[in-house]
Symmetry: C2
Subunit: 358 residues, 2 copies
Amino acid sequence: MERRLNPKAHEIAILAEGSFGILESKAAAVLVRYLTDNVVAVIDSTKAGKDAGEIIGVGTGIPIVGSLAEAMKLNPTMLAVGIAPPGGELLPKWKSMLREAIESGLHIMSGLHWFLSNDPELAELAARRDVILWDVRKPPANLPIATCKAADVDATVVLTVGSDCRVGKMVVGIELANEARRRGLNAAFCPTGQNGMMVSGWGIAVDAVVSDFSAGAAEQIVIEGAQNHDLLIVEGQGSLVHPGYSGVTLSLLHGSMPDAMIFCHQPSRKGIARYTVPLPSLGEMIAQYEILANPVKPANVIGIALNCFDLTEKQAREAVELAERETGLPATDVIRFGPHKLVDAIVSMQNLCAKSSV
Amino acid sequence: MERRLNPKAHEIAILAEGSFGILESKAAAVLVRYLTDNVVAVIDSTKAGKDAGEIIGVGTGIPIVGSLAEAMKLNPTMLAVGIAPPGGELLPKWKSMLREAIESGLHIMSGLHWFLSNDPELAELAARRDVILWDVRKPPANLPIATCKAADVDATVVLTVGSDCRVGKMVVGIELANEARRRGLNAAFCPTGQNGMMVSGWGIAVDAVVSDFSAGAAEQIVIEGAQNHDLLIVEGQGSLVHPGYSGVTLSLLHGSMPDAMIFCHQPSRKGIARYTVPLPSLGEMIAQYEILANPVKPANVIGIALNCFDLTEKQAREAVELAERETGLPATDVIRFGPHKLVDAIVSMQNLCAKSSV
């Protein structure tokens, strides 16, 4: 087992050099949003002197600094790598900053495709300084082929699915789990991608797993989550109509064996981003998930989460109403209008199944 | 690029120690079936003195011998590893035989999960003796994320899909390509798994690829096949209703972007093997493939390939008739009744699209 890090137990400096922003560094933005109390600084010399809130609308009071040395004055205990270098390769200038961080005794959490722990120099240095290098995308050893064990857990399992990548499956999952906990439910967000993992301190990056074992990875996540929770919100990935990633999506559906699904969509998006594949109607996309779930374990989509960040308030309300009319399901934008309707739907479903003891 | 081996240019000894048989060693059996003229010996001391034909019904005249030394008397130039050790690990006794084979100057082609070329001792020995170790399951470096490039090839692409693993998708693919070639079509079988690759000398084991890139691997196979062929029969894997492997199946569907599909099924099979998942009806399973293909590239199932090895002649004929009545599609058992009907269906579809210049 890789040694993980629990980010909630740390004071975090985020390395986002040259890329801090909502779209430029999803990792840095979600860390600031969901670990606001833990983040002591964001490192980005191109925005130094500003405040995280000025750039991404959350994280007011978190300073953006120009160097690791400046960040060190705020006493971080961990460096979170929130840069996304082209091709996933690490530039030499960043490697020297990582070396400096390790020398300074910081643990490091990284979502890079390039694994820090595979670099002999960094690994040796980390061992010597007794700090953990947690490469969140590095799959655990000995993952099984899925065997439907996720069906046996006592927890209720809800999977966030969607129309495309980057429509909000992670954020929706976190928001639903947070709201469920506010209502007193013993709920956990189950991360399946690097950003959710860095927020939560556990999970498996399913898309980094050899495809024979990707459903098995989803199964493992559900089994681990169910050990201590009654309600699991599993983060979906990709889309059943995504030409590149649909296999990951289906592995997650069949591996996690959800009791219900929440469908995530960006109303302004008419086709798969960066492809010439038009999106089917909401109803068709929802039907695909249900048709594919059915033979392995029946599950329905019970709510719609719309990502209306690029719409006006009025347009967003109209989009929500339209989705509800089109599908007959409750819809919301969890960031703009709150996750309440969807948690209501989950609770009703949960009571209906009487599967959990909640 | 890994150095591949073209098995049709070699005299092959097959290592099937303790496991030669149709069910026990699928790799050995298909090599004997499809490379009959190239196989000089099968090594299995538990059946030594017999003839391959006596054990698996094909390969009459190919001797089964008790050791590599005996096989060497028949002047092989390549050893094909047709054993499937539990857990994919190589036992020490086999490793010593591999060492002996390399020392004797044999190239080695292996479908093991455990890569020979990663073993420093074997790799060093192979370099010294100038022989190739082709680990067919080792994915090529730098696979892309799929980008729908398979839609642009000039070749007609047919994908074999199916209800479960081990229902005949590989054999059907090989038989259809062979029959198409007999009719003068410039057809190629495109392998996506280790056994088909060992028969054909190329391909990618898609299930061994990191799931982000498995559709990209399928795309690469189609692009490579289309360089020199007008009709590609792409080997499918798994099943859309297989809890462990469905992701691989969908990656292949969206990565290879077929013009049509052949649905493979074993009529006696009522559920996914080794799982408690009952199979939906033929019509439902076919509809799933078409529904999932549709948003990325529409393709219909145009024929049914039944695997009736465990049925009597009469039962097999009845199963074929029933499948035809149930689906309105041409059906056959390609081994028992020949692949003609399905190649007819492909040719009609091809003429209809007038996509290829055949």
